[in-house]
Amino acid sequence: MSTTTATLEKTLGIPPHVKPEQVFEFDIYADPRITDDVQGSYAAALRGAPDIFWTPANGGHWMVQRGDLITEIVKDYEIFSAREMQIPRVPDPPYMIPLSVDPPANLPYRAALMPKFSPREVAKLEPHMREIATKLIDEVVAKGECDFIREISSRFPVSIFMELMGLPLEKLREFRIIADNYFNARSNEDLARLGGQIMGIFSDLMEIRAREPRDDLVTSLMNTEVDGRALTRDEILAMCLVLFLGGMDTVTNVSGFTFQRLAEEPAVQARMAADPTLIPRAVEEGIRLHGVICTPRVVVQDTDKHGVSFRTGDMVLNILSQVGRDNRANDHADAFDIDRENKVHLTFSTGPHLCLGHILARAEIRILTEEWFKRIPSFRAKPGARHGFRIGTVHALEALPLEWDVSA
């Protein structure tokens, strides 16, 4: 071991298999370089870091910021397993189906869930989604201002998701608070307690649906077979947990960040308002620019790749938002350019755990944006307002005060 490595190890706790030039300090939960422009400031902060680097913060872990490397890692499940996703590691990590299950065991679960998330099913939901979007936006139009996060983007996907799952809408606020707490939780005790609360909600729901089946996801899972047997109660609950976490927060965050950016882009707004057929492309551009998930994997087999020694037990965090921001993948990656032909990103990841809800998520954001521009064709951020954000394995915007002119 060289002296530099020995010194690093002593001062920062860098393990010996990490080379000194691979160390770059970054705190995924509280790095001071991150601003309200989360993805932009992330890209700026990591500009000098290697494509794969080791940060000593949060127990020490790898971070990966290049698209082809991330693609390789998330597909190479025999080395990089999804079975553990907490950074720092915890003794008894949450188990989610299909997210924590490596191939090929994940496939029957994906198949069980897929019907409700297929393009055809999503198309069926469209009129209802439009109704919910319209209602929420109509509530704020005349005021000339709103907190886009609190009044629109946190309510919209949650209502759709509850409906899909069969959850009662009266419980919306309560659910949202539990989800927020879950994403802020660090300790094993908190994760277990909040995970338990979420499971409790769905467990109650399963009891109700056993007596009164309905056309919702929970009822359908209770009647689905995998490998010729019914899903167990625990399996269904583990699926509900990831659906709950995936469906509650991500759409809120991506649409929040996209609208924060659009508020600074009057020329883009004008084009979208004048020609609504541009909206799907604008939405995809918003999705490219605003990845909100960093996906962790745990190394389960020692391997040397790309000059890096990955050792069993190392955590590896794939920073999906960096792919859309990579100038090697997208020209002028930070620019909001509706017309760019190929919008390269991994906002929904790829490989065996490719987001199950990506068709639904894209439809939700598109519909919300279409209905918004019909009523509010031009808007801006309220001057001087701080938005606030949360970073970690999920990036979120806390508030987005917008204003617009109201014609008398």
Binding site: L107, M114, P352, L354
Partner: protein
């Protein structure tokens, strides 16, 4: 097989795959024996093949229609593959997921059609 297969020393042989798009354009691309039809189509930038999951059989966005005579010659699809096709927008009797088809020398000249959309 009537057509010559390009073989160079130490490299996998190449075969020609022909395609038609739903709006009547056509073209061809080269595929290496042993790679997936999806991977070959992606490297050749064939329009309309998205392959969002990169061949992990969970996305269904590498869907193609195989010409009938060729379809019969392919190994049959696993149930999981047919399920995924059925959830898509344009399932047909000759539908396949191109990531699940490994290119062989016997596929030289295979004809496929790209569906109107993958989402």
């Amino acid at each position: 097989m009537g057509r010559a297969i390009a073989i160079s020393r130490g490299r996998p042989p190449l075969v020609q795959i022909h395609y038609r798009t739903h709006d009547g354009r056509s073209g061809a691309f080269e595929a290496k024996v042993g790679q997936s039809l999806m991977a070959a189509a992606k490297s050749a930038n064939v329009p309309g093949i998205i392959a969002e999951c990169g061949g992990s059989m969970v996305c269904g966005t590498c869907h193609v229609f195989i010409d009938e005579t060729w379809f019969a010659k392919l190994p049959t699809a696993e149930p999981m593959e047919t399920d995924l096709i059925d959830y898509g927008l344009y399932p047909r009797p000759t539908s396949r997921l191109s990531c699940q088809i490994t290119v062989t020398e016997a596929m030289d000249g295979l004809l496929l059609e790209i569906p109107p959309s993958q989402h």
